[in-house]
């Protein structure tokens, strides 16, 4: 009697989650996932073998491209020293001085479909001290060089914020020191991490992953609910091990929290990563490292709006700001799992949870349709066209309308079962 009552009480709530009845047992889903994982790792290993031969030099593009490499501290140091000597010489001969800085403007960027990422062309501009419009920037550049030289001598890491605070009076604004820092790494031909300057921790990871951070072994299933903050300097990270079947990339902190708390990675072995919005350099480096070392497929869960797709593109083929280092920062072959515009109707998300797109949104959407990285995937073009046509967007949280745990209990399992990714 009591048992029956209990069942009756719980039954309606179980049934209230729409599409729950379509779910097959977890074991079936796991089977499909294993299949997917092995096939993708096989394909990625074969393709990565092909990738290894495919670099910028092999493409023989009609123009020269600029790419940076990881340099050792001592070579960064000697680069800076020889640059300083040249400048000192130029000053002493009475010619003032000038930096030859590679241009990072959008006119100097190029999407290379063979590589599936943005690269920087080799245009550069002179930054002379004797010109009123560039005197400030060239002084800041000299100062940043000096500071990085110090870092090289001492062999320590600092954050961008630290760098800014060493001379607030000159830099005035952190964006100024940040852009010049990127200029400097571009100029010296090394990655930003080789300059020993890192950004503050932003990304987090949780799930079936074990790695070593500066020698300490980290087990990401035992990091509590919040997960492990992704270390800002990737060179300390190593020895990655995992029994996961896929990597789940989440746009938002809220959805990440939900999945972490529900221990989604124990039901379906996976690694969950988020950068809480636009990804920073270290999260992108980390994702690439995971993908390359563990050979796992990457599935992305982003908002159904143009910005969700934009974030996806930054992981996939790089941002324009850091295009000089796109080789180290991009992760190829990310699948768009959800929330896709077609899901809004498929999962009957009620009207009140959908938002009308603003004019700006629609414009961004239309612009994205022109972007090469969208065009290369016909499924994405279809989805984005649908979004622009319906003029509706929705966040991942719109799924909470069926209950907070709908995301982890029904939506994601069903998506995985149906292999519903593009």
């Amino acid at each position: 009697m009591a048992d029956g009552k209990k069942r009756r009480r719980t039954d309606p709530t179980e049934n209230s989650l729409p599409f729950k009845n379509k779910l097959k047992p977890d074991s079936v889903i796991l089977e499909t996932l294993k299949e997917f994982s092995t096939s993708s790792s096989a394909s990625s290993s074969s393709s990565s073998a092909a990738d290894k031969t495919l670099t910028l030099q092999d493409l023989s593009l009609p123009f020269r491209c600029r790419e940076v490499a990881d340099l050792s501290l001592s070579s960064v140091q000697s680069n800076i020293e020889s640059l300083a000597r040249k400048i000192a010489h130029s000053i002493l001969t009475g010619n003032g001085f000038a930096f030859d800085v590679p241009s990072r403007s959008s006119a100097n960027q190029l999407y290379v479909p063979e590589l599936d990422r943005i690269v920087l062309k080799d245009k550069s501009s002179l930054r002379p001290f004797g010109n009123i419009s560039t005197v400030r920037k060239s002084t800041i550049t000299a100062r940043i060089l000096e500071l990085i030289h110090q870092l090289c001598l001492k062999g320590i890491h600092v954050t961008k914020r630290d760098l800014f605070y060493t001379d607030v009076k000159l830099f005035k604004d952190q964006t100024q020191s940040d852009t010049v820092l990127d200029d400097v790494s571009c100029m010296l031909g090394c990655t930003r991490s080789s300059l020993n300057v890192v950004a503050a921790e932003k990304g987090v990871v949780v799930g079936r992953l074990i790695f070593s951070d500066n020698g300490d072994v980290i087990d990401c299933t035992k990091m509590g609910m919040g997960g492990k903050a992704i270390p800002p300097n990737i060179d300390r990270v190593g020895d990655m091990q995992s029994d996961a079947l896929f990597i789940l990339l989440v746009e938002k902190d809220a959805a990440y929290m939900r999945l972490a708390e529900d221990r989604f990675y124990n039901r379906f072995p996976c690694i969950i990563v988020t950068a809480k919005g636009q990804p920073d350099v270290s999260t992108r480096l980390f994702l690439r490292k995971m993908k390359m070392e563990l050979k796992l497929p990457v599935l992305a869960l982003v908002d159904s709006d143009p910005y969700g797709l934009k974030i996806l593109s930054v992981y996939g083929c790089g941002s324009k700001n850091m295009s000089y280092d796109s080789a180290h920062l991009t992760t190829p072959d990310i699948k768009w799992l959800g929330v896709r515009p077609s899901d809004l109707d498929k999962y009957k998300i009620p009207e009140q949870c959908r938002l009308p797109m603003t004019e700006q949104d629609i414009k961004t959407g239309k612009d994205m349709l022109e972007e090469d990285f969208v065009k290369k995937n016909p499924g994405w073009v279809e989805e984005l066209t649908l979004m622009v046509k319906t003029k509706q967007k929705a966040e991942i949280q719109a799924l909470s309308t069926f209950g907070f745990q709908y995301l982890s209990e029904v939506y994601l399992p069903l998506k995985l079962q149906q292999k519903d990714w593009l």
Binding site: Q77, S78, I80, E81, S82, A84, R85, I87, A88, H89, I91, L92, G94, N95, G96, F97, F129, G130, I132, V135, R136, S138, T139, A142, R143, L145, E146, H149, Q150, L153, L170
Partner: protein, 673 residues
């Protein structure tokens, strides 16, 4: 006085009886309302929303009447406006009411209850404490504001508004009708006018009757008239006829011509002070050929205001001409009225002479198109209603030339510019006058001015709107000018900083019919694309003119500051480079090719032959050289001479020219001193 009293009582009675009899079966009584009654009930239409706005509207109606009057006889206007505050006891004595002391204090709205009193005292004590504290700390806090007397709602303020001009004056016998009859006026007809409804002073009179019950006083004299007409009258709102108290001729010793109107109304100076002053100032901008004196007088001398806006030019825009209707802008009723009023006999003459842009051949073509039952010789008065509808239809569909703007009287670029310079003293100003354009058969002209800098101008955009040469002060947000300036002009592309620069945007639109929006006629809607694009292009034209000036200024400033700016960065740059050299480890410099430039450099650094000071010195020399080269280049580019300064010579009008006439039998020598 008693006549006025009885008439104002009756509407209240009528209202009362209405409210008492709602349950009885409804009797539909056909009532008629006089125009005066209508406006008394809907006074917000004419801008008499509340006491404060009424004071403002009264001032503006009187000022605009004065300007129209002076311009109609081509005399440079001199307008004196005086607002005199009248306190309650003075007002009571004016209407012969005995001041009564309050007996039952608690009866009044502003009575302070025991609780409220405690609260107030506590608050005052606290404020005093804070002040004492601040004083002991040596801080200069702001002076505690004098406790304001609490004003109850019964405490109305009354004002005597006087407006004196040097205009045309009014014929002695017409004065009662001109003031005591609503919707009768001299300004009806199709032309550019300042007035908006033909209400003007009449509405002020209705308001004075509603709020104070005091009559209006008019003195007027026309040119070459040896007497002054004086008239004291009020209005019978029911019958819409004047009620004359006194109408007499007085002596005119000063050969004065013009009108002086005095009305006592309820108002609110404290809240509308700034609006009224803004109005006067903007009026002075758009009519720099007029002289305004504005005075506010009250018992408290510190509140008194006297502002005078001097005349800066004697060039007056031409008097707007009355024009005929454009065929595309008329409606059925108007055609019927024109037919009734016309002196022309047959249809072809009617079409040719009562409308613009219909020539005789065109009229005949139109008649041919109208159909078989029309011909050019048919009597125009014999047209049937159906035929008139047919004419109207054809007018709608046929193509006509656009009306020309010759009937309009814009302020003129010169006047606008002068007005802006005179009132704002900007650093830079540019003006532009567009050509006439058409909206719904009515021609319009847009003139614009953009100024940068100046006194009493706040940072950001300051928008001044004028319609038919009167300032618009209310409902700025939805106006086409505001929207255009805020949203459709990319200020930064003209090197103007929308937030930090003091920008004045002046747009004056004149038309035979301004397409106002809203009941108050205070703004022009943003939905008329013709006007919106004309406003945009006018402002842009001004900005283009300014841009070149601003660029020149920036270049000149850059010239002056270049050396200083470059020198400022020398220490930072030199020390950065030197520190890298100085901290270079020995083993790194040993790798260098011996005997090379770099090796020698490092040796000198380590031996202190090259120090930070060496670098600073060399860089300073370099900057000196760069600066010299750049200055030379700039001088060759811009020419040696300074840009010509803009100078405006204005004849002083106040001072009479001293002239000596030397008469000879055939001629006169006039010597100007």
């Amino acid at each position: 006085m008693d006549g006025g009293g009885s008439s104002s009582e009756s509407p209240i009675k009528a209202k009362k009886s209405k409210s008492k009899t709602p349950r009885k079966p409804k009797e539909t009584i056909l009532k008629q309302k006089s125009p005066a009654e209508f406006f008394a009930e809907n006074k917000n239409i004419a801008g008499f929303d509340n006491a404060g706005k009424s004071l403002y509207t009264t001032v503006r109606e009187l000022v605009e009447n004065s300007l129209d009057s002076a311009e109609s006889i081509s005399v440079l206007p001199v307008v004196e406006v005086t607002i005199e505050e009248i306190n309650r006891s003075k007002f009571n004595s004016m209407i012969g009411l005995v001041d009564r002391e309050r007996v039952d204090a608690a009866l009044y709205d502003d009575y302070e209850t025991e609780k409220a009193r405690e609260k107030r005292l506590a608050k005052e004590a606290r404020a005093q404490e804070i002040q004492a504290k601040n004083a002991s700390l040596g801080k200069k806090g702001k002076e505690a504001s004098a406790t304001k007397g609490i004003k109850g709602r019964g405490e109305a303020s009354f004002y005597r508004v006087t407006c004196k001009d040097n205009g045309k004056g009014m014929p002695h016998d017409d004065i009662p009708d001109m003031f005591g009859r609503v919707l009768s006026g001299t300004k009806y007809g199709l032309k550019q006018t300042r007035g908006k409804f033909g209400l003007g002073a009449k509405m002020a009179l209705i308001w004075s009757k509603m709020s104070t019950g005091l009559p209006i006083e008019i003195s007027s004299s026309m040119r070459k008239q040896n007497y002054i007409s004086f008239c004291r009258l009020d209005i019978d709102i029911h019958k819409n006829i004047p009620h004359v108290h006194l109408h007499e001729k007085r002596e005119n010793n000063e050969h004065w011509h013009g009108a002086e109107i005095q009305v006592v109304i309820e108002g609110n100076w404290t809240t509308y002070r700034s609006k009224i002053l803004h109005y006067m100032r903007q009026m002075a901008v758009i009519t720099p050929y007029a002289q305004f004196v504005f005075k506010f007088m009250s018992d408290a001398p510190d509140k008194n205001v006297t502002v005078s806006f001097a005349r800066r030019t004697d060039v007056m825009p031409p008097i707007p001409l009355e024009t005929k209707h454009h065929p595309s802008s008329v409606d059925l009723l108007l055609i019927k009225r024109l037919i009734a009023e016309t002196s022309k006999q047959n249809l072809v003459q009617f079409l040719q002479h009562e409308f613009v842009n219909i020539s005789k051949p065109y009229a005949e073509r139109l008649i041919g198109e109208l159909g078989a039952d029309f011909n050019s010789k048919m009597a125009v008065k014999s047209l049937t209603s159906q035929q008139i509808v047919r004419i109207h239809q054809l007018f709608r569909q046929a193509k006509f030339d656009d009306p020309s703007g010759h009937c309009l009287s814009p302020a003129g670029e010169y006047n606008l510019r002068l007005g802006i310079i005179k009132e704002l003293h900007p650093d830079m100003v540019a003006t532009y006058s567009g050509s006439a354009q058409v909206f719904e058969g009515h021609p319009f002209i847009v003139e614009a001015g953009v100024s940068v800098g100046g006194k009493d101008v706040k940072q950001g955009l300051n928008i001044f709107r004028f319609a038919n040469r009167i300032p618009l002060l209310f409902e700025q947000g939805a106006d086409v000018v505001t929207r255009t300036a805020l949203k459709r002009i990319n200020w930064s592309s003209y090197k103007i900083n929308q937030i930090q620069d003091k920008i004045g945007v002046f747009v004056s639109i004149v038309s035979t019919k301004i397409p106002f929006k809203g009941t108050g006629k205070e703004y022009i809607g943003d939905d008329i694309t013709e006007i919106a694009s004309a406003v945009k292009s006018a402002i842009q034209q001004c900005c283009i003119q300014l841009k070149s000036k601003i660029l020149k200024k920036m270049q000149a400033r850059e010239q002056q500051e270049r050396k200083r700016n470059l020198n400022r960065y020398i220490p930072d740059a030199s020390s950065a480079i030197y520190n890298i050299l100085n901290t270079t480890p020995l083993h790194a410099s040993k790798k260098l090719r011996s005997g090379g430039d770099e090796e020698e450099l490092m040796r000198k650094v380590s031996e202190n032959l090259i120090t930070k000071e060496t670098l600073i010195e060399k860089l300073a020399k370099y900057v000196e050289q760069v600066d010299y080269e750049m200055a030379l280049e700039y001088a060759t580019q811009s020419g040696v001479s300074e840009q010509p300064r803009e100078t405006i010579y204005i004849q002083s009008l106040e001072a009479e020219n001293k002239i000596v006439d030397l008469h000879a039998p055939f001629f006169v020598f006039r010597v100007v001193q």
